[in-house]
């Protein structure tokens, strides 16, 4: 309460505030306009779209484009339903595996003493901070040799246990009191049970919001499916390939309908969990 009162009382000098407002408004307008433009374009007929691209409102409102999108958009025999399915398992799998492995690593590194603990921590930090540019070639070749290239087993590569997720969750575990675990040990719980029944549920709010952010990130990610999963097109990679292979005879309104539909799940998640996502982005940052 106090904070907002002070901030409001402290007025900016007028010309600067107006200038900033204009910049903000213009920037926001371009984002809003492009979304609205894409939506109205998705309702036009293909000829109307090519002839009157710049006009905002369609002459005829063809909502049927959205139904057509389900039938027309396909990439090498994979219909849009296959793409949705691929997006789902990839996004849920990547987010779930990396959250679980990273939180287990973070828990052990912050709460237990063992030989090599500092080494694990140093390796994780070094992996984040030191860039290795050639590693893409090496990992591509390794995935092929291991036989996980172009199979769902590619999900195992999310189980690195490091990265931003590790940092956020380990700082969370540092704040959790060890007394719960001591009490449980006296009652005869094993270490594994302490983790799954006490510690993980305690960290669930933090892990949950990271899961959401990672889910959105990997739902939108086009690079992993294009690089490593050419036979499993997700919505992001599939729609990109669809536009690329049908450059000259593409039905743009239907294509727009498809790409807008592909945003619906992440958009809904964002609207429902806006505060959670916002707070975990402002601490961690969104990848992808």
């Amino acid at each position: 309460m106090l904070k907002s009162r002070i901030i409001k009382r402290f007025k900016m000098t007028n010309p600067m505030r107006i200038l900033a407002f204009i910049i903000f408004a213009l920037f926001a307008f371009t984002i809003l306009y492009s979304l609205v433009w894409a939506f109205f374009s998705s309702l036009k007929s293909p000829t109307e779209y090519t002839l009157y691209k710049a006009e905002l409102l369609p002459k005829e409102w063809l909502f049927s484009n959205y139904i057509k999108a389900f039938g027309l958009l396909e990439v090498s025999g994979n219909s849009i339903f296959v793409m949705i399915f691929n997006s789902l398992w990839l996004a849920i799998g990547q987010a779930f595996i990396s959250c679980m492995v990273a939180s287990a690593t973070a828990y052990v590194v912050t709460k237990y003493d063992f030989i090599g603990k500092k080494v694990v921590y140093a390796v994780i930090i070094a992996m984040m901070m030191i860039p290795l540019y050639g590693s893409f070639a090496a990992s591509y070749k390794m995935y092929r040799t291991l036989g996980i290239y172009d199979t769902p087993f590619i999900l195992i590569t999310s189980a690195s246990g490091g990265g931003m997720v590790f940092m956020i969750i380990s700082s969370y575990f540092k704040g959790v009191s060890w007394e719960y675990a001591e009490a449980a040990t006296i009652d005869g719980s094993s270490d594994l049970r302490i983790y799954f029944e006490i510690m993980l549920p305690l960290a669930l709010p933090a892990v949950g919001s990271i899961f959401l952010v990672m889910f959105i990130g990997s739902w939108n990610d086009y690079s992993v499916p294009i690089y490593y999963l050419p036979h499993y097109p997700t919505l992001a990679s599939g729609l990109y390939i669809y536009e690329k292979i049908s450059t000259f005879n593409i039905n743009y309104p239907v294509y727009f309908a498809g790409i807008l539909l592909s945003c619906v799940p992440t958009f809904l998640l964002f609207i429902i969990f806006q505060e959670k996502i916002l707070s975990s982005i402002s601490t961690g940052g969104l990848k992808g």
Partner: protein, 256 residues
Amino acid sequence: MAFKDQNTEEWSVVNFQIFFNDIMRGKDSEILSNVGNTLIYFAVNLMMIPLAFILSYFMYKKILGYKLFRFLYMVPMIVSAVVLVSIYKNMLSSSGPVSKVYEWLTGKTAPFFIYDERYATLTIVLYTIWTGLGMNIILFSGAMSRIPASIIEYASLDGVNPIQEMFRIVLPIVSPTFTTLMLLSCVGVFNASGPILLFTGGMYGTSTISYWMYDRVILNNQYNYASALGLMLTLISLPIFFVVNFLNKHVPEVEF
């Protein structure tokens, strides 16, 4: 891998020879032009940080409609890059809305922004600003919202004006965010590559290092040459990394 000849699988330095031969070609060098383009994106990423700081100060001051702005600036992070790029591309295409505005402003026919070597890189740079600036603003205003209200109140009792408040009080307090963003973009110099794959597929002189890697490894199966180049770039950027890290540790911490 970098030290192996791909055809014979024997140890050799042939990959490094190709690399140095390419660099020696000067202006025609494929790698140098890729590095040049990458540095453009890197410079833009760096310049975006102070700009975002100034803008997010106004957002912190709860400018009219700030909640709506914050929501809209989040959109590029929520919507997939594939979607944004294809909307952006189509708005820029001939007789699209942006071309119409361009013709109205200048009176000339709009060029093919993406399919013209003179404009292609600039167009993609504008796209990265368009989608990236909002993210930086959100990060900064998140950090600012954690500033204790009492500090701002003491300052206003002492008669501090907004500009002094912005640079002498808010800036030092959010300096960790500032240096982290700087550090991340310096460390990832050669990763700052823009969505080249989605825009042009490396044509029209837009190719950057990370796109080049994709092109060599996946489209041409030249793993070993790509690893050699990666190794060289890592060697180049390690000193940058240590200098930045050193500077980062010597920025005075603010207690509050």
